[in-house]
Amino acid sequence: MAVLGSGPAGFYTAYKVMSSIENAVVDMYEYLPVPFGLVRFGVAPDHPEVKNCQTKFEEVASSPRFNFIGNIDVGKGMPLASLRDHYNAILFAYGATKDRKLGIPGEDSVKGIYSARDFVGWYNGLPEHAGFVPNLESGEEAVIIGQGNVALDVARTLLIGVDEVRKTDMTEYALATLSKSRVKRVHVVGRRGPMQAAFTIKEVRELLNLPSVSFRPIDPSLFPSSVTKLPRTTKRLTQLLLKGSSIPAAKAQKAWSLDFLLSPTQFHSSGTGSDDLSAITFGKNSLLGPDPFDSSARVEPTDEEVTMATSLAFRSIGYKSDPINGMKDLGIDFDERRGIIPNDGYGRITSLSSDGTGIPGLYCSGWVKRGPAGVIANTMEDAFSTAEAVAEDWESKQPFLAGGQGWDALKLEADQRGLRTVDWNGWKKIDAVEIERGKAKGKPREKFASVQDMLSVLD
């Protein structure tokens, strides 16, 4: 089986397939020289414990039935069609590589608006963001549009003292930029209410517990009157949000707020020849029934508007997957609207145009299967369900791709195409140098933030 992508979706599916199907061999393709996807490039540097799942991935990779093939971009450097001819199955687990846009005036023309995905990738050393330099010195206000956990990661990064993250694996250039930040107040804005917000309780609690950071209390009318009757999870989150922070605003150095029922309608620049962001206008929303406190309640716009003055904004309204070149030739009809590969819910890739039957040998897992949401535990469960589908199809002798020699054959093609690949030993060398580079600074590692630097370790 070929696996495209080396994040949690790819690794957990590989693990379960290898342990369920005797003699199954997995070749994992990764476009970067380094593995682990969002565990390396998405998980916040101050959440090192979340990265412990890498221990499991190391175990998987140590199997003689597993090959890591880094630095090969399938669909670009290596055609997808070449993989089709050499494997019984292809698993698409390449995640969500784009972020959703707001589509409102000023979004592309006004300066000072950043994508949260770019920001997170930047402080985590994702090579494609090497040239990204956020200006955090333009003012004291920051507005984050969106209320998922990525939005809260961005908020925490702006609010936490830079000394608190110096000993993490956050890149040095990001630490340097953050140390010059003038941001004092962060507004995390959502279009619906607190009962519909996507963030989870741990991330909220962390922000509320930050020393010297106050939290603006939330309007109690946004919550149902009888909190104790709510289901456990909602009740605990509601109680936490109502309790707020113990730090009084007068004693705090920084502050944050959750601002609800606001949809951005326009970014403004200060005018007079400047493209710099000066303010954002939001339309106020109201929650719709039958139960406005239901987690799936919708909103409708009102006639009211509110304008927030700010010179810094982050867009954090979700990630989005993109199709890979050559998918169509395999019969995959990528769902552009939902940003996922159409599948039967278990990870068998189905054709949109046909009657929902699977395409033999093609599977997906993770965010490209079910959309960009959830924590690693969700992706693990999801990956296991795809792996069970693969194993079940294999055992019941369902049709697969023709198979072949896998990487043994494709290696020749990669050589002919002049592609330089990085195997697991290569990654371990890069890993060792990164860890060594971090030691002097008391960090778990100092990441290489460019592909060239990663590869130079192997020269």
Binding site: E58, S63, D344, G358, A377, E381
Partner: protein
């Protein structure tokens, strides 16, 4: 897990560690006369009985016995993959209350019950001798075989 995998994974498990993780794969046996009994009931309903030492946590026990429990964060209370359900409410009440961190993670667990705990946070003690816990199904979906409409043609 087949025999070969078992060998591969248990060997690799001891070879590599990153940032601090709970030990896996190996637990010291209890001293004679101090054995504590614990039963895991897997998602197929099969019972697994072990005699363990005081202080061992349920995640370490499950992993050293190769039960299907992930512990993705290495026992640092940062995920919900070692979710267990305590069978007997009276036994649940004997445990120390879960703290905020554990409850925050349990809130994300699939199939949360009134007696749910994270295995990494439950340490065996004399009071918990005879503890019985169930492992919830790790996959949210129905078994694929229950979903005939989407079977491959």
């Amino acid at each position: 897990m087949d025999a070969e995998n078992h060998r591969i994974y248990s060997r690799a498990r001891r070879r590599f560690t990153t940032s601090p993780v709970a030990k896996h794969g190996h637990l010291d046996p209890p001293k004679p006369g101090e054995e504590l009994r614990v039963t895991f009931i897997d998602k197929e309903g099969e019972e697994h009985n072990f005699e363990v030492a005081r202080g061992d946590n349920l995640l370490d026990i499950a992993q050293s016995e190769d039960l299907e429990m992930e512990g993705a964060c290495g026992g640092s209370c940062a995920c919900s993959t070692c979710h267990v359900i305590v069978e007997d409410e009276a036994m649940y009440d004997k445990m120390d209350e879960p703290d905020d961190d554990e409850n925050d993670m349990l809130d994300l667990a699939f199939g949360l019950t009134e007696t749910s705990r994270l295995g990494c946070q439950v340490k065996m003690s004399k009071d918990l001798d005879g503890l019985r816990v169930k492992l919830p199904s790790m996959t949210r979906n129905l078994q694929a075989s229950d979903f005939s409409g989407a079977k491959k043609s």
